[in-house]
Symmetry: D2
Subunit: 465 residues, 4 copies
């Protein structure tokens, strides 16, 4: 999945600590709503603290003192959570998972009752209530914190991170994900074009979150927001300075084949009114805690709609994308032999390409000349024929193909940056979004696993004699 | 429940038709996102149209052409819905209810599987999926309409209205309610003070929605937004000019006993800095389709917190409320005899009060003199001793007592308007919100059914000799 | 001049009193900037108070305690001014005029010095300083009041009003006018389209200030802001809720001939995208104190530019205007005999038209039939041939002709309202703004006094046999 | 004057070129208002172009085609101006100065007429008209350009710059200055606190314009906008992203003595609620073209008023200021001998201090020890006794003393930056703004040339034995 790969690794604690400041400042307001007892917990949440915590969770869930007080009490819980270290947070989650999950006994008896009377109109409703664990109510109550929704997104980031080494948080994580899917429904999000007129507090997030082609400085950012560049993002109304996902677009003439040129700060800016092509050259998810909440497809298509309206001369919409799994695939080809794909000289070339520093071979004209047809061919093979399930193995390819794009062009030496050479051996792909074909392409890909592709690309597959 | 009574009856169709205009204007934008086929349906949705409708619903649910196209298709469905009449809408709902509900067969087999292996960690999740009917997905897809959330609120208003005479929409209605409860969680709402500086498009809604003391004109509204008056409302970020619930407050000195004085446009406005008391004299729910989504408690307490901050001299927070069920109760007293409560002369007086025009008796000094102690006593009895379940029978009393208020004062001739005389025989009640007692009061009321009440009020219970 | 006639008579005191509230609330802020001594004056400003006033004016002018303190002191003066009655304000102005005007002695010696050395580059500058009376500095200092610019506009309204019966304020008034002309330069003003989404605090001003066709209610206003109607106004950034001048436009097909139809609330609204003609049917100056500050020409042309952009299908831009001086002219025709213009039967008809209630004659079919050709002919004569100086005598005609419009059409029974019958005997005129001819028309009119006019209108001049 | 010194040298052309882009984008809108003929001029404005230019200027001044057209024509002139080089601009100004100045003949005859009749009430008004040269009308017409006010400010920057080497623009410059003084009256400006939430397009101006202590990076800026730092600026409503003047304040405890500590990005931020002192450590004018428009005094006092309101615990308001003319003074002391001020060993020390690199002597403990009492004493002498006219010779001292501050403290090693050592030999001064004394101090300073000063500072004057 794209979101997984393209999200820059975050350090959730620092994010949470920023949240902490907001919380502190909002604290007085909240606590006026009820006689909140702030919970003092030690960072690693020893057993004695665990007991206190459990009691306060119960009070929240029983809405003791009324709904408003209960929210204030939840704010206290949230505050306490933020001061825990990783060990403490894991124990916090385990407590939730163990004590506030589904009542299995109740579920059993409801299931039994249903089987005795499958026509009963009420039992399914009861069953649903039983299947809704108390922790969901608790998550919801955190929502009333100042910055509560951001708190929950960051809490899920913690869950995901802690789940890498430890178990037991699966059901919890799943329920929080579903809650976030409901609250981050596309219908609630704002699409906004980000310009140099945006608050610095927002723009610094763009710099921080850009995951595909690093933004090196504020000047670099300003260049990416120049008149022949666009940046669009989705925002949640409760997280006004936090882009959820953003895409960067260059307005140019003809398909761009080289991302270095697009990012060159010294190039003059062009009049966007004259551009015929919009190149989507970077798309970044920003919130690790929103993993599994799919927004990229909507973003691309809403941006296309907005661009058409703003720049009526645009005719072509395409990406300029990396091939992140290409090197790994090439290594496999060598290892496993794929004996029928390569002849001996090709094997030799490939070995030379993968050995040494990632871009050394560029300097050797001979290898370089031999590399081009080989890599182009293998890349097309990789994109079209290597699968994960019924979809393309390459995560970026799979993302755009699912959205209804097709593979339009493979670009030799499209990304000479260290990362570009390392992961994709410099190759870049244009995925074309042709509006009239999007639905058809999507159905073909999702339904029959068929990958749409331009004729020139397809012809690269044939081994050059 | 308060919301039921205090919501002015709406004419949902006209509301929807306004939505219709918004939809039309947003239509092009949405339809660019996919090749939407607008569905043309006849208003009463005859059987042949029902078939077409079912097909398009299925396409939506299967996300044919991708998620984005699917949303566009849902927009087409929404557009078609708006052109249906009541009969058509009922048939629309019934189609949903019949064809897109829970798969009972799947539920049965999952229940069976669970009973065979109650330790299985996966089955509950499967069960939940089975219990989530397809219609929920469809509701969610409507959310991406321009004004989609308002569309859903209005659609639920239709459901509630149509459910009065016909059956079969219960489960549908319940699921839509739960969806709205999640989306209108207090954490997503904005509290805003409404002033004369608000857009006319918003203020006309306040005039339209005021349910307790009718706003007679724009001048009347302006008076209610004067410097010694406040109006606060909750807003959803996706419905910016639609207050969801609003409360009107007067800043005065001492408990107000008469609502007519508060509403008198010719009275001079006072400096709110000098006021010591905030009187909540009107609270109105505005969206019939949000019935069951409880916001009043939060509103009152958030407003109290904001008032404390803005006007630090305020010491007392109280309502001036009607007793909407009082006349009905008095009629019962006569009918059923409550023989031990009234002596013969009191019975006679009561008959005189309830016969004739609602305020005739005010002119007869003798009756009037006899009425006062009698009505005051019966009112206290009604509020304290007449129950519905474990709570107070009077809906307004129940609302404020649940919130943690107590009954502070009964006001003779507090509301001489026709409605006030008709429903409450002119009596009004001050419910006092004392911040330090709110939780305690709430627990006593909700836990033990105990109704808190000031000593002077309690003493009215004793029959005056 | 248009502005004179079309400005609704204001009651400046009530306007000032509103300002007073703002002042009071802004007072603390200002007074922190200096140790302001608030001046307490009696309403009619008796001689003893006059002395105190003079002293404080001198302190202001000498910037005692520094510029910031001086502004605070001026705020005190402004506050005191607001509490004066008409007599007091007149005396306030006279004091300014007498004590803080040009130093005539200094002027004389500078003039003498100049004549002795007409090449001196410095003397003109000195002369200008001498010619700049201290009162201008004082006016400028009021500008730092909260709502200071509005204060000055209202102060000038006072000056104009008081100048009607009394003398001595001419120079003062003239200097204040020039100051306002500089500060209300078109370059500082915002053109804004006013919609139903504007604050009520702004919209109530539109209702209050509309001078041509009275706005009867908020519903009437809403109708005039419907999708096929536009209202545009100029705003000063320091008077955000005060439109300075506004114009109302109807988007229709073909030239409108009847204003009653345009204002009919029960008529359905049309899709403005289909309109080919924009009818400017009302233009109102709002600030009496800005008399002589000319904004109407800019407003019309900026609105035309905005309409072209918003509704590209518009082809024709025209007014539907009253003929405010028509009845007065007709009365003169009868009085002075203009013997060669009318035959005897026409004289009789005209007498019948001008006698009795203004619209009685409409009911008499015979008179009515005779009236039409006569009034149409006299109206064209009035517009084309009756002059004030070199321009048209009719103020509305002069305004639009100066702007470069031409007389396109005279409409019989175009305004049946009481005012329309009273002033213009029901006639209305379309002045056409043809973009390509505006400069030429203006030059012809302003340069040679030539009034441009369509052929059909011109042909009406000929006496029908 | 402060403004002169503290304004960072600008490169007006690049500023104008930015304006150029805005102009281009606003061009179509303006040109719809009239049939503008864009003037094509060669950069150095040769004689033949000068003639064309003169004709268009005349058309503007005669308002040919009406006021609106005339403004459009002026826009054309402005556009043409922007494409001129320095030589061309100088010739542009000279043309204005020569052809569109005061009519000397008319002035002479008016002066003569006045002397013949010094009681005539009309002649002064005529004289004023004669004294108002046509170029003022032209300047005013530029105001209707998009960004017109910024255009005029930048045009004045050009005038000032070009006046350094050439003559003949004095009167022109003076009139433009007076126009700007009227339009940038404090009453029209907005005071705004600048936070990290401001648009990057605004914040980059702060970085660019900071004239006292350079802002090194965006991170440095962020630090200066942290919670215990404030930045305030005045804005003109027509130049929304252009601060006119801004001040930076640190909220601390006790008088700050060292600016390096204030600017240290690695220092933790403090809770501003606990601060008792506001230190104004930098104030920068940003617009070279506004030289002579005095805003600093208002800025400081409005900021003090705002700080008092926001942070009620603040008790002391003081600057931490450089002594920019100190080194120059010290050099004079040596040159001219001031023989009675220094003994021989002091002269030696002083020579050592002024020779070599500006901060070398700091490393030599012996010199350093000798330097302290000497420099402190000479600094006090410089501030108190060295005059320019009746005021202090040091521009920063003169600025704050005029505002009513007093000299509170001299800080040894207060600014160890290169610039600080170079200009002030590391000394910094606290000027104290004591609200209750401001008016008194100002009067004493401006009236009697008395410089207020704390006792400890005064005692430094005495030569230490």
């Amino acid at each position: 999945m794209m979101s997984e790969m393209q999200t820059k690794p975050r350090t959730p604690r620092s994010v949470l600590n920023r949240t902490l400041d907001n919380l502190a400042s909002g604290w007085k307001r909240i606590s006026q709503l009820g006689n909140t007892r702030v919970l003092k917990l030690r960072p690693n949440l020893p057993d004695s603290d665990l007991k206190k915590l459990k009691l306060q969770m119960q009070d929240c869930l029983e809405s003791k003192g009324g709904e408003v007080s209960s929210r204030a009490r939840a704010a206290g819980l949230g505050q306490a959570y933020l001061e825990l270290n990783d060990e403490g947070r894991y124990r916090f989650f385990k407590l939730l998972a163990k004590e506030f999950g589904i009542d299995r006994g109740a579920l059993e008896s409801t299931a039994r009752a249903y089987l005795e009377n499958t026509d009963d109109p009420e039992i399914p409703e009861t069953m649903r209530a039983v299947l809704r664990p108390p922790w969901i109510k608790l998550f919801t109550q955190f929502n009333a914190l100042p910055s509560g929704i951001k708190f929950l997104v960051d809490m899920r980031a913690d869950m995901l991170r802690l789940s890498k080494q430890r178990t037991g948080l699966e059901a919890l994580n799943n329920d929080l994900k579903n809650l976030l899917i409901s609250w981050f429904d596309i219908g609630f999000l704002d699409l906004k074009r980000i310009t140099w007129n945006e608050p610095a507090a927002l723009l610094e997030k763009v710099i921080e979150y850009e995951a595909v082609h690093e933004i090196l400085s504020w000047e670099d950012l300003k260049n990416r927001l120049d008149r022949d560049r666009c940046c669009y993002a989705f925002f949640h109304p409760r997280m006004p300075n936090e882009p959820l996902i953003f895409v960067q677009v260059a307005l140019v003439n003809g398909l761009s084949t080289n991302v270095g040129k697009l990012l060159d700060n010294s190039a003059p800016s062009e009049d966007p009114e004259n551009a015929d092509t919009a190149i989507f050259y970077s798309i970044s998810n920003t919130q690790f805690g929103l993993r599994g909440v799919s927004l990229g497809d909507f973003l691309i298509k809403r941006v296309v709609a907005d661009l058409i309206k703003t720049f009526p001369n645009l005719k072509t919409f395409s990406t300029l994308s990396p091939v992140p799994g290409f090197r790994d695939f090439l290594a496999q080809v060598l290892d496993k032999g794929y004996s029928d794909m390569l002849d001996d000289s090709e094997k030799l070339t490939l070995r030379q390409l993968l050995g040494g520093d990632s871009s050394d071979w560029l300097k050797d004209e001979e290898i370089s000349r031999a590399a081009k047809p080989l890599l182009m061919r293998l890349c097309v093979h990789y994109l079209l024929n290597e699968k994960r399930g019924t979809g393309a193995r390459d995560s970026v390819a799979n993302f755009h193909l699912t959205n209804g794009a097709r593979i339009e062009q493979i670009n030799w030496l499209g990304d000479l940056s260290e990362q570009g050479m390392q992961r994709s051996l410099g190759l870049m792909v244009n995925y074309l979004y042709k509006l009239s074909d999007i639905e058809k392409n999507h159905e073909a890909y999702v339904g029959q696993g068929e990958i749409l592709c331009s004729t020139p690309v397809k012809s690269l597959l044939k081994k050059t004699q």
